[in-house]
């Protein structure tokens, strides 16, 4: 169905703390596409994102996930990142002792297995910060330490732009942010989309972040299953009517 398939999830079932959350998810994302995942609270959106990245809190019960034709579920978390998968965290942890810039550089070097020249990289960080409208000193601060909620989200977007994954999953990166921060995140997403081959899976409640983007496909997740798929018109419909229609179907 999808040309140049990048991610293909089939019949994925996963549990958290012995409770089954994903009950057979099918999802396919092609190269260069922007997908949106919507669903009510507790539907399993974050579980899906975390399971794909390899979050140890989730146990895979059944199903497959292929990334560029390779079995994603067999890979370690860092191998998944090295293969080109990225997940932006809702609440990233604070790690003192390493600056944001040095961390991204270390991650790039280890993920791709190649040396990154610090000076060249420093210039790229500076440019990217400018694109996002962020202060130059941002990269020198310890990774997420003392960052406000908004700053953490912006730092996640900065990492996405510098790590250049082929598929970035944004897990409610826009939630709980003020207008200004939402604008920064949107700008980052637009910048990311400039690479025609890069794909996005955006998990959101908020249509605002999507308005400037060309969305290819929308998936509605309810009760651990994709219950509806469609074009961007679905976003508007959900904006008007919520998820009740899908939940009734599910019941």
């Amino acid at each position: 169905m999808v040309a140049n398939s990048l991610l293909k999830v089939s019949g994925l079932r996963a549990s958290a703390e012995d409770k089954e959350i994903l009950r057979g998810v099918d999802l396919e994302i092609g190269e260069g596409e922007t997908h949106v995942l919507m669903g009510p609270n507790g539907a399993g959106k974050s579980t899906l994102a975390g399971s794909l990245m390899g979050d140890p809190r989730y146990t895979i019960l059944d199903g497959t996930a292929e990334f560029r034709g390779e079995n994603l579920l067999e890979k370690s978390v860092s191998e998944r990142a090295g293969a080109g998968l990225f997940l932006s965290f809702q609440n990233p942890v604070e790690v003192p002792g390493i600056s944001l810039e040095n961390f991204i550089r270390t991650a790039l070097e280890q993920g791709k297995g190649e040396k990154v020249r610090p000076w060249v990289f420093h210039r790229e960080v500076k440019d990217t910060l400018a694109t996002l409208g962020l202060d130059e000193t941002y990269g020198e601060r310890d990774l997420n330490v003392g960052f406000s909620g908004g700053e953490k989200k912006k730092a996640e977007i900065l990492q996405m732009l510098l790590l250049k994954p082929s598929l970035a999953i944004l897990d409610e990166t826009d939630s709980g942010l003020d207008v200004d921060a939402v604008r920064t995140v949107s700008r980052g997403v637009e910048e990311f989309r400039k690479n025609e081959k890069a794909s996005l899976l955006i998990i959101t409640h908020n249509a605002a972040i999507l308005s400037a983007l060309k969305v290819d496909r929308v998936h509605v997740l309810v009760g651990g299953r994709i219950v509806k798929e469609g074009g961007p018109e679905l976003i508007e419909e959900i904006g008007r009517n919520g998820f009740s229609r899908f939940e009734e179907n599910e019941g």
Binding site: M53, G54, D55, Y58, S76, A81, L87, T106, D142
Partner: protein
């Protein structure tokens, strides 16, 4: 999905574990009056020192072993060499004059390189004797003295040493202080005259090479009124199958409004009993700063003590202890507030891994006359796995109601969440854990000069990564 965990393996200490052939020209085993006389003779002690040694031996013989803390049963005093003189004939002030095998040892540890890079002076002790001592000319010209204690004993500072030597740490303090007094050898004497600020650090490096030997160096530092100094101490030894003992002693005299920073990166081998005693006396308005990194040894008892003796005297203690497989490290500090408006600040991190035991032990005493004094103690522990142990034993004895005393302790583990987050950006599990542990120990590394911070982070990486490759 994989739930395979990268095994964090035992430590590759090969870097420190090289040993030289023992070519000591004099080695004395055991402990009797005759032996103490022999050591004293070998060193050409003045009479008072010879008598002092014998008195210490007597105290040693009648003092009980400590009945608290980690077990030291593996320590067989009858088979510890109390004195090993390396083949170096005398103390050298030119690096080229140090015998080649000893020079190679320190070269491998990067000592002369560090001296060229960023130090005002260096002392290097090999087994029981200092083999090298040097101080930059411009620093010496300001009147700063940095020499081995034996030479100083016979020179113009002899009387000063007599009035300060083991006055802060009396031989009656505990059994190993008495032992130290009886058989001490080597170590440094530093004197900073009033008002002189030594801008770059002095360093000493202790290396114990002989098997089954004891190292008993004595460090005596006097910083006069308004002066300041940063002194760095490094220690290492190769691993042997017999126990080694380190019972050194550090005495620091910090004058009025003077500042002394004393940094230690200790990486003794895993068969060392590190029973070291360190103490500072701080006068009015003075300040002592202890920076302490404990990585090595089989068993450590280490609690640097600050006596705040004058109004407004201050003490800061910043420490990190890393206990790996087979290690039981009991570390912490003591502070005695003996004057009004004194303040102490203690900030420590302990890390335990592979069944290692790390205990933080502190004692803060506030005397009745120490009104309006402040003390804040914060200790945090990190257990890297489920088989390691971490304990916190903070004691407070506050004898005045007019004091502000605070204590905070936290014990935690490396969260899976944090490891997952770092790995999701492409770093390996090993690297992720090492990053978290380095970050946890940052309180100490950020206080060290850059190259020592790098050294400490390398040590953490060695500890975290294990013997792969």
């Amino acid at each position: 999905m994989t739930d395979e965990k990268t095994q964090v393996q035992d430590v590759d200490r090969a870097f420190y574990d090289f040993r030289d052939e023992e070519r000591d020209s004099c080695r004395i085993d055991g402990l009797t009056g005759e032996i103490v006389e022999q050591i004293s003779g070998e060193k050409g002690d003045p009479d008072w020192m010879r008598e002092f040694r014998l008195k210490c031996l007597e105290i040693f013989n009648r003092t009980e072993m400590p009945d608290w803390g980690p077990s030291i049963e593996g320590l067989d005093m009858d088979h510890i060499a109390t004195y090993v003189r390396p083949s170096a004939q005398r103390m050298n002030t030119r690096w080229e004059d140090v015998p080649e095998d000893i020079r190679n040892t320190f070269d491998r540890l990067g000592i002369p390189k560090a001296e060229r890079a960023s130090l005002a002076g260096v002392g290097a002790q090999y087994d029981s004797e200092l083999v090298y001592h040097n101080i930059r000319e411009d620093v010496a010209r300001t009147g700063v003295v940095y020499t081995d204690l034996e030479s100083a004993l016979h020179g113009e500072y002899g009387e000063m040493i007599r009035t300060h030597f083991m006055k802060l740490v009396p031989p009656t303090d505990h059994k190993f202080a008495a032992l130290h007094g009886a058989v001490w050898s080597g170590g440094s004497f530093v004197y900073v005259p009033a008002g002189v600020k030594v801008e770059i650090p002095l360093q000493s490096y202790f290396r114990l090479n002989a098997a089954g030997a004891g190292q008993f160096e004595h460090t005596l530092i006097i910083v006069e009124e308004g002066a300041s100094l940063h002194f760095i101490e490094g220690c290492s030894a190769p691993k042997y199958n017999v126990a080694n003992l380190h019972a050194g002693c550090v005495e620091l005299y910090v004058g009025r409004n003077a500042t002394l920073r004393y940094s230690t990166i200790e990486n003794w081998s895993r068969n060392m009993y590190n029973l070291n005693t360190k103490r500072a006396l701080v006068e009015e308005g003075g300040k002592v700063e202890w920076i302490s990194g404990s990585f090595g040894s089989h068993v450590s008892y280490l609690y640097p003590m600050s006596i705040l003796n004058g109004r407004g005297a201050r003490s800061e203690f910043t420490g990190v202890t890393f206990a790996g497989k087979g290690q039981n490290l009991d570390t912490g500090c003591k502070v005695v507030h003996s004057a009004p408006e004194t303040s102490s600040y203690v900030n420590t991190r302990s890390i335990s891994k592979d069944g290692g035991v790390s205990t933080f032990r502190s004692a803060v005493v506030v005397n009745p006359k120490a009104e309006n004094s402040k003390s804040a103690v914060s200790c945090q522990s990190l257990m890297v796995d489920d088989i390691s142990r971490s304990d916190t034993i903070p004691a407070m004895d506050v004898q005045t109601s007019r004091a502000d005393i605070g204590h905070e302790a936290r014990i935690g583990r490396i969260s899976d969440e944090a490891v997952f987050y770092l790995m999701s950006r492409g770093v390996s599990e090993e690297e992720a854990r090492a990053l978290i542990v380095s970050g946890f120990a940052e309180n100490v590394s950020k206080e060290l000069p850059l190259e020592y911070a790098v050294e400490m982070n390398n040590l953490i990486r060695i500890e975290m990564k294990g013997a792969i490759g």
